[in-house]
Assembly symmetry: C2
């Protein structure tokens, strides 16, 4: 009764979501058209509307799916693990996501720049909560003297911004660096940065 999904439905819904991701991530919600998405998906416009009743619904479906994947890496931080390695691991997972899902990263960026009309609630709810919890973990690590004093919120923001930069600003990265793949050296840089930031420094105490 519940499993009414046909083979064709699955195929076409997947094609539409893939097409929507490609188009929305580049042009944003308002800059994208159903014709564009339909063409990209290899369907006629009314046929597309047969699967998703409106442009809005495609967009919402994409963002729902995205939000889960996007927040997952932060949940994997283990408060009982080694602080430096946990944070480096987190940064590595985020960077890998930028590398493997650049369109998703740009979709997210577009939504936020536009003012987060769809996912604002999730940001102020679940995201805020998990970041707060992670910040507590980091603060505890600092209090225990296991890492250098650091503002946990800005530490997290800097991990987000650096890792997403390679997806969102990909064109600029390539313009500046040339065709060379930036990800391997970016990973080294990030790891290095976090290690130096978090590891006890020599003389200075404050």
């Amino acid at each position: 009764m519940t499993k009414t999904e046909t083979r064709i439905q699955k195929k076409n819904q997947a094609a539409i979501l893939a097409a929507g991701l490609k188009v929305f991530s580049q042009y944003g919600f308002r800059g994208s058209t159903l014709d564009q998405i339909a063409k990209e998906a290899g369907l006629s416009k009314p046929n597309l509307i047969y699967y998703f009743a409106s442009k809005d619904l495609i967009y919402k479906a994409l963002l729902d799916r995205l939000l889960e994947n996007w927040m997952e890496p932060i949940y994997q931080i283990d408060a009982t693990g080694d602080p430096v390695e946990e944070l480096i691991g987190y940064a590595r997972r985020k960077l890998t996501m930028s590398q493997n899902y650049p369109a998703e990263s740009r979709l997210f960026a577009n939504e936020i720049i536009q003012g987060a009309p769809q996912i604002g609630d999730a940001l102020r709810g679940e995201l805020r909560r998990v970041v707060k919890k992670t910040a507590s973990t980091i603060d505890a690590w600092v209090a225990a003297g296991r890492i250098q004093p650091v503002n946990p919120y800005h530490l997290i923001f800097s991990i987000w911004s650096i890792t997403q930069h390679y997806a969102d600003f990909d064109v600029q990265v390539k313009a500046v660096m040339g065709p060379e793949d930036p990800f391997p050296s970016a990973q080294d840089y990030l790891e290095n940065m976090l290690r130096r930031m978090l590891t006890a420094s020599p003389g200075a105490s404050g």
Copy 2:
């Protein structure tokens, strides 16, 4: 002969550019409409077209003006100055720009995410050149043992991404941190990060 700009022209062109900035920075080029911009500028659409013959021209005028301002801070890095202070100063200038010109930052972000159709040439030309020069400066500082070894390209990217994050992802920053102004603590964080990254570490030699 050349100075044919009337008082009204100046006023209306400025109003159109301000309106265009506001609208384009939020919705991107394709997601923005002339009606929206005209309304925001307090003009009728034909009147707007009287000053800028097309939507494209408004957008191009904005990006031209933006590019200059955007690159200026990097030109101020002084190869003969103190390395750590020069780089911290650069980061501070970029952060201040994000704080004072968030719409400009988002306009730039939108243009890049969209694939930089307008400013791609400038990125591959002037930007690439000045970054290359700055990278040489940083490499020289490393070679002279004045800062820790670091990949200069990724160092620059990380300064760009972190500073712009507070403008582009402003909604997310506020969602996570609450209404508190993030800029003062962000500046502390950034300075701290750069200082720890660039300053000689204790034991390890490599």
